[in-house]
Amino acid sequence: MRRLRRPKRHQELWLGLLGVLLAFGICEAVGRAGVVRRSYLPPASEVVARAVQLAGDGAFMDGVGATVKAWALGLGLSVAIAVPLGLLLGSVPLVDSAVRVIVEFLRPLPSVALIPLVSLLLGTGIRTEVALITYACVWPVLFNTIYGLGETDPLAKDTLRAFGFGRLSVLLRVELPGTAPFIAAGIRISASVALILAVATELLSGFGQGLGIFIAQAGLATDGTRDVLAGVVWAGALGLVINGVLVWGERRLFPWTPERQTERQAGRGWVRAGAPGAGAAEADAVRSGAGSEPGSDASGPEAPGTGSGSGVVR
């Protein structure tokens, strides 16, 4: 599919850096040229300086901590639900047919549109946030798990059977490790979705603690644009770091996947996408992840750079 020649890794780095510098330069120029009022769109350097300054702000960092905590709880919970469920659905066709309808009904429900409803039920605290994140993150992990199970090499299963191992052993010793790279790719996608949801929920509820709260409150203040943008920079940076760590982890944990093998043969230790031939799975999971976010049409662009953009497009 994407057999287009990609630039070499170091070229990629330089190109990426160039892009960032260019964007930065444009923002800076627009901000300084006075095309728009300075308080509407402060120059990029001011925003970044503010973002750096915020790192020393205890209250702000507590907010970031709260957001990250909700992110981690929600993501962890969704994995704890989606992986066993995916294994069950993927290996017992009967259960699959029974649950499929429910899944197909729930999946298109936009999680962001559920924010008001869930807030009514659970209040505006971390419980709502975690519940929504969990809901949104279950899908990519669930579908990648099912897809990965389907991709398990039948010969690998036969091998284990031939040595006298039973159904459960095949599941735990072959299907689970074989599916792990797909699950990891699903988790990476969900990690971005989770961050979107965390910030969006906070933005909409507007109470308590968190990065989204900080952005929402800055938006109400006069001349708050700089703080809003600084908060957005933080959200973007968080997304970037999370994605980077997960991609790195996948490389370390799953060196045998076809993608890693081709890289090695091509003499490249480090390319972007992290999944094992999971092109299809990932695309599918993304579609479902994104599909559960159509209500986020409004919020998607609003929580920019959460890394979802970068996590999704490839």
Partner: protein, 254 residues
């Protein structure tokens, strides 16, 4: 273990692969199965292994019909690369069948290392299958099948990717293991010389579809075999010619 096939037939959908195969492999015999590509040798092994139910007829072991995977079975699959687990080290791949024996971990590893040494892979235990060459992977699969000292061993072209020297070494290793452990072995190969050298008996299958045995030949060579002298025996040459003619079929025989 005595292996017995009774008018065994096998098919994929409408395509008949094996038809009316009657074969008894006495306990401790090393049977070589030769036949043209696509005739159904792998299908035969899969059926004996209980991985695929028989379509017609039956497979039985020591008089009991095979319904699932028999006990004390080991298989070397033709597609050895795909049958190794990439997330396990070579040593853990080889030690895997021993888990069924409830041996402690240290003991399993030690046995794995010992058998790896015998297939010429000492020092490769900590690597991963995808870091090895095709021939090395094939030897890992062989080591894994031998480590649990099976009573029934099915090998599907196990030496296909090996260079001549390694291949001969492993043929001799197989004979040695066979002599000491006395397993019943079904050994599929393309190589006519190899079938005569290794086997107690050679069965030639006809080209598919509906493949069946066209030659069932006891190998009347001394049990103690040697790569140079055995292959030079007039009897070896005669047996080889006989198998060769059967593989070519009646038309091309001269």
């Amino acid at each position: 273990m005595t292996l017995r096939l009774d008018s065994l037939g096998q098919r994929y959908g409408e395509q008949v692969v094996l038809h009316d195969i009657d074969l008894t492999v006495p306990d401790g015999q090393l049977l070589c199965v030769v036949g043209p590509s696509g005739c159904g040798k792998s299908t035969l092994l899969r059926t004996v292994a209980g991985l695929q139910p028989a379509y017609e007829g039956s497979v039985s072991i020591d008089g009991t019909p095979v319904t699932g995977v028999p006990d004390q079975l080991a298989v070397v699959f033709q597609d050895y690369g795909r049958s190794l687990f990439p997330w396990l080290t070579v040593r853990d791949n080889v030690a895997l069948p021993l888990r069924r024996r409830g041996l402690p971990r240290a003991e399993r590893r030690e046995q794995a290392e010992r058998i790896l040494e015998r297939v010429g892979l000492e020092g490769a235990g900590r690597r991963h299958p995808w870091q090895l060459s095709g021939g090395m992977q094939q030897r890992v699969a062989i080591a894994r099948a031998l480590v649990c000292r099976p009573s029934l061993l099915l090998m599907d072209e196990p030496f296909g990717s090996l260079d001549a020297q390694t291949r001969e070494d492993l043929e001799d290793l197989l004979l040695e293991v066979h002599r000491s452990d006395g397993a019943t072995i079904v050994f599929v190969t393309h190589d006519i010389d190899e079938s005569v050298y290794v086997g107690d008996r050679v069965v030639v299958l006809s080209p598919g579809p509906a493949s069946h045995p066209v030659l069932d030949l006891p190998v009347t060579l001394p049990t103690k075999r040697d790569q140079i002298t055995t292959r030079g025996l007039p009897e070896f040459v005669a047996l080889r010619a006989q198998v060769g003619r059967a593989v070519r079929g009646p038309v091309a025989s001269d």
